[in-house]
């Protein structure tokens, strides 16, 4: 179990969370008509071996979506911020 320090609830086991994947790909504006932009958002991934910024939602807690910095090899967790407050 990973331990994710939720900014609202404190450290919790990761099975309280829902994973939301790569947080580094910005979502195009709702009216962005560019298929390339949407293709990139939906399909393309850096998939780094190492530091990865990713979304997790604390579904069994505060239900906030968080941006978590995690190493994909060591699984060590660095910074955790609320997605609402995160500056890309």
């Amino acid at each position: 179990m990973l331990r994710i320090p939720c900014p609202c609830c404190g450290p919790r086991d990761h099975d309280e969370f829902r994973y939301g994947g790569d947080a580094s790909v910005p979502r195009p504006a709702p009216d962005d008509p560019d298929p390339e932009a949407w293709h990139a958002y939906v399909y393309r991934r850096q998939n780094p071996k190492g530091a990865h910024r990713e979304y997790w939602q604390h579904v069994l807690g505060c239900r906030q979506w968080l941006v978590v910095e995690r190493d994909t090899v060591s699984h060590r967790i660095g910074s955790v911020v609320m997605a609402r407050e995160w500056q890309a």
Binding site: M1, L2, D13, H14, D15, R18, Y19, G20, G21, D22, P35, H39, A40, V42, Y43, R44, R45, Q46, N47, K49, H52, E54, R70, T72, V73, S74, H75
Partner: protein, 418 residues
Amino acid sequence: MRNSAFNILRQGLTGNRGWPRTWRDRTPNRRYDVVIVGGGGHGLATAYYLARRHGLRNIAVLEKGHIGGGNVGRNTTVIRSNYLLPPNTQFYEHSMQLWEGLSQELNYNVMFSQRGQIVTAHSEDQLDSFAHRANVMRANGIEAEILDRAQLRRVLPYLDWSDRQRFPIWGAILQRRAGTARHDAVAWGYARAADRLGVDIIENCEVTGIRLEAGRVTGLDTTRGEIAADRVGLTVAGHTTQLCHMAGITDLPIESHVLQAFVTEPVKPLVHHVVAYGADHFYISQSDKGGLVFGGSLDGYNSFASRGNLGIVREVAEAAIALMPCIAPLRLLRHWGGIMDMTPDASPIISRTPVEGLYLNGGWCYGGFKATPASGVCFAHLLATGEDHPLAAGYRLDRFRTGHLIDEAGAGPFAWLQ
């Protein structure tokens, strides 16, 4: 020396001293016509078919560790051809047909065991969707059966048929030709056969860079020196994106995730088929040694660490005894993980890339072992001719842009995120 009962007897009587190396220990040449990166099942099969079917000889397979140390040696070895969508249906059936003659073709017993695969159904809708799948299979010349509850109960009496079953069993789909094979033997068998055709199998040789000139591949940097080649095929499974990064391709539709596998202590024969639980993520078979080999769902977050998490261990154990309470007293002997190259539609990629001379075979997700022979055939065809093999034309990289998705589960892009 050929593998045969006769040679086993002769060697047995003379101290087994005459068996040669299974594949030669080669140091790399300066240049090859084709270099395959990754000595897993797909890479070795590709090299073998390049030599066997296309007559190429100056081929190397570069493996960073030892042969078979990747997913080919970690997987749960389920082989089936019960796919719903074109081109999967025909591709996997072709693979199945290759499996049926593989031991003889390679002169190496890969222990392909067609014991049948059964997936349980837990609602009428699920039975209908299994019927659809079975109908597609039949209509494509692939045998398939639908079992009702009573029929299934006769075949698998040890499932939970009691009213304690949380998700009562309505029936099942059965493919009798499905089964398992001995994973290591597949890697070793292809390596041995490719080696006999002159392919250089080079272990402990990690590719660290891909050399490009004017958008073309010219060679590779490796831990055993520079190797020139103008055709390079990548078959590195969970490390596909890392290798592509070396060629400047940084945005593949692939994420790496860990899938765990589990084996119990060996017991006398108990599970005679491959059985999958239709209500959740769990499937199981029994190896010839007697261990129950089983698996479940992905660990659930991007990972390059080939180890699993306790949470999934528990979930899989829960699903296991929900379906088969009788295995609760049996003991888990070992569990491990492999790094999966997951694509958004959970179907593979056999494709040219934006870099000329660089070809990609990856995105096999949790289902690439069964594909090994056909993948080798199709990728060898692409590398040798520059043209898509007709069976694999649907596996091109551009399908995400055009929308020609092959989403068997209908789960949507990177559904494991949800």
